[in-house]
């Protein structure tokens, strides 16, 4: 990639210069005192010219955060969740990383080989931004960090920024995000513009007990097409941390958006992800979550089908080990008729890991001729692991086709023997079967440019699992 990149970078010089500015800000830590705890009101962001509404919204969000109760397990939205793992007082507000750390993280931000653009953030500061193809900027594609978009594209930004409230339980954490958010990705794809290659964003957490509030806002106008991949990564896997990400995907009439998130935080991180997708007439959304990291990871995913002919595919592949917990809550909300949603979540459970899936299909009274599918499959690799599945239907229209099902099973003995009989060791055979199980999710991704890195992240996770199982080796 590098050679081609360099030439194109010159063409995109203005963008690069801006990115360097941002880097400089990140280089010079201004907070020299004690790091501020997450439970203190956040500092005002240092960005210049931030509009009043934005600053007011942060202050109000902080008040909401303080006013809202911590969730309790007695609430349906938090049933089975290990709330004890969430200790907000243990973390401090995002701190800028030192220059050499920034350089290292930029270097480590390697995704797929052929991409259209890239941004790298660490502890909520932009380190690097590129748009590899100058035509895209000429076509009106906006690829900017949030703090720039809020100033330079004020109306567009304000119209869409966190308009959809969190409805799946994490209102308090959404308020915390809104109070702390200072950067993230803003992607605007104008009408009928198709971006063939994926755009990639890296969010890094660096430093013990740090925090991050990644934000992704994508507006795909009518007839456009785009793929974006978010990578959530930890600088050092042994560090604790707290991450609370929000992403809003707005897909205009006839547009196609593929959103991939590889959640690969270190396994001591507590992670929240609040996703909402709005699918307009004849538009198609596909989201894929590869869930590998964190000690407790909560994923809330909402798809609203607000225009006839809209379609949303919601995919997740989750690999657990140790006592990791993945808490997944989804809502397929059919607002308009002739809409389709198809959810497939697969979990592979090892050791004493735990998964929770609570998914609702809601078909509103107007949403006749809805097709809604929901499938959850748990592959149990350990008798001590725990998978909780709570599928739900709320159907208020008459002419609908809905199916849902949750299954849990072990590795099939005959499949295993078949692989053994070819000389493949028990461990490698089990790994192949788990790989295959998850591949069925990854293979649904239409964008082949986005998949190799996902495969590599999966392989790394398996390698980590192998090391933990046999520490002597």
């Amino acid at each position: 990639m590098s050679e081609q990149t360099d030439t194109l970078l010159t063409a995109d010089y203005a963008d690069t210069a801006e990115a360097r500015d941002a880097t400089r800000i990140a280089d010079e830590p201004t907070d020299v005192g004690l790091p501020r705890g997450l439970l203190n009101p956040p500092d005002a962001p240092s960005g210049q010219g931030l509009p009043d509404w934005f600053l007011t919204s942060r202050a109000q969000a902080w008040q909401s955060f303080e006013a809202l109760e911590m969730p309790a397990r007695t609430e349906q939205a938090w049933r089975f969740a290990s709330l004890g793992k969430i200790k907000l007082q243990a973390y401090h507000a995002p701190l800028p990383v030192a220059g050499e750390v920034a350089d290292r993280l930029i270097e480590r931000s390697v995704g797929n080989t052929t991409v259209a653009g890239k941004m790298v953030f660490a502890n909520d500061a932009l380190l690097d931004r590129r748009l590899f193809s100058p035509e895209l900027a000429a076509q009106g594609v906006i690829w900017k960090p949030l703090e720039a978009a809020v100033v330079e594209h004020a109306d567009l930004f304000r119209k869409h920024f966190m308009v959809q409230e969190a409805v799946l339980g994490s209102q308090k954490f959404a308020a915390l995000h809104r109070a702390h958010v200072r950067t993230g990705t803003f992607l605007y794809v104008p009408k009928n513009v198709e971006i063939a290659l994926p755009l990639e964003v890296f969010h890094w957490l660096s430093g013990e007990a740090g925090s991050s509030f990644p934000h992704t806002l994508i507006i795909a106008e009518a007839g456009s097409k785009v793929t974006l991949v978010d990578y959530f990564e930890s600088d050092r896997s042994e560090e604790t941390g707290f991450a609370c990400a929000v992403n809003d995907l707005i897909i205009g009439p006839g547009a196609k958006l593929t959103y991939v998130c590889a959640q690969n935080w270190g396994e001591k991180v507590v992670s929240f992800q609040i996703n909402s997708t709005t699918v307009e007439r004849d538009a198609a959304a596909m989201s894929l979550h590869l869930n590998l990291g964190a000690s407790y990871a909560r994923l809330e995913s909402l798809s609203r089908l607000v225009g006839a002919g809209g379609r949303s595919d919601m995919l997740a592949a989750t690999v657990t080990q140790g006592d990791q917990e993945f808490d997944q809550r989804t809502l397929q909300d059919h607002v308009q008729p002739h809409t389709t949603s198809d959810l497939l979540y697969k979990n592979s459970l090892s050791d004493t890991a735990k998964t929770v899936f609570a998914g609702l299909i809601r078909v509103q009274p107007e949403a006749q001729h809805t097709d809604a599918y929901q499938k959850v499959r748990n592959l149990m690799l350990s008798d001590d692991a725990e998978a909780n599945s709570m599928p739900g239907l709320e159907i208020l229209a008459d002419e609908v086709r809905c199916t849902h099902g949750a299954t849990s099973g072990h590795v099939d003995d005959e499949e295993l023997f078949y692989l053994l009989s070819r000389g493949i060791s028990h461990k490698a055979a089990q790994e192949l079967i788990v790989h295959g199980f998850l591949n069925e999710v990854l293979e649904r991704l239409p964008d082949a440019h986005a998949t190799p890195k996902l495969g590599a992240l999966l392989a790394e996770k398996f390698a980590r699992m192998k090391r933990q199982q046999s520490p002597a080796a």
Binding site: L420, I424, I433, G436, E440
Partner: protein, 253 residues
């Protein structure tokens, strides 16, 4: 050293039920032997027990490959020691591509830190696929998933061709094949046949033996070999059935 697959006084049970009851057989390297018998005679149990399937308990006896007793080994180690079983009903492995599966099997035969060379691997794989008239797109398809009966059996022979075992047991590889598929499979086996391979064909039809000519034919009944002969025995069985093999011969065996 004895260059043979030698089975001595083998007893195999499923749960408490004895199925193989003192079976003796020797397949020298370079030869093709056939075991024929009716359903329920214990043929498939013999095949799976030798391959190390955990549901089959070997209560006594020995199985040696070139003198080495393999019964103490796990199924994967038996395979790496040179044994191959072509399954009557091969499993489907969703999401695992055929190419990755075979590559994993070959990788398992390499030492720590050794990596299979990808270009050579595909070169060999395509060569063997061509021999078995397997389309190239089968490399990307999930193992046996959605394969027809004939495609599954060809895929078994493909694995055998790639793994180059010293001894191969083909468990009813002819079942469910039309004549064209049978010819392709037979051509594959005949191509692989040679001084470094011993083959044990398990079948209940003589048909397969028109295409893969055995050096010896054995009749299995009630968990034992009760009669052995040359290839003409298969024709005799096809013509006369199994009834003529008398209980006296059974007792003598």
């Amino acid at each position: 050293m004895n260059q043979s697959l030698v089975i001595k006084d083998l007893h195999v049970s499923i749960g408490d039920k004895p199925i193989v009851k003192g079976l003796n057989l020797e397949v020298p390297k370079g030869e093709v032997h056939a075991i024929m018998g009716l359903n329920g005679s214990g043929k498939s149990t013999l095949a799976k027990a030798i391959a190390g399937h955990p549901d089959y308990t070997i209560t006594s006896g020995t199985v040696r490959l070139d003198g080495e007793d393999i019964l103490g080994l796990e199924a994967d180690a038996r395979s790496r020691a040179g044994l191959f079983l072509a399954f009557q009903y091969p499993s489907e492995i969703p999401g695992v591509s055929n190419a990755n599966f075979i590559r994993a099997a070959l990788q398992a035969r390499l030492g720590e830190g050794e990596e299979l060379e990808a270009v050579d691997y595909y070169h060999r794989l395509y060569e063997k696929m061509d021999m078995l008239e397997i389309r190239r797109d089968f490399t990307a398809r999930s193992v046996n998933e959605g394969f027809s009966g004939g495609e599954k059996k060809r895929n078994e022979i493909l694995q055998m061709a790639m793994l180059e075992p010293s001894y191969a047991i083909l468990d009813e590889t002819d079942s469910g094949l039309d004549i064209d598929a049978l010819k392709i499979v037979a051509h594959g086996v005949n191509t692989l046949k040679g001084p470094n391979l011993g083959v044990l064909l398990i079948t209940h039809y003589q048909r397969l033996l028109n295409y893969i000519v055995p050096d010896q034919v054995h009749v299995m009944m009630d968990g034992r070999i009760v009669h052995s002969g040359d290839k003409s025995l298969a024709l005799e069985l096809d013509e006369k059935g199994y009834d003529w093999i008398t209980p006296a011969e059974l007792a003598a065996a």
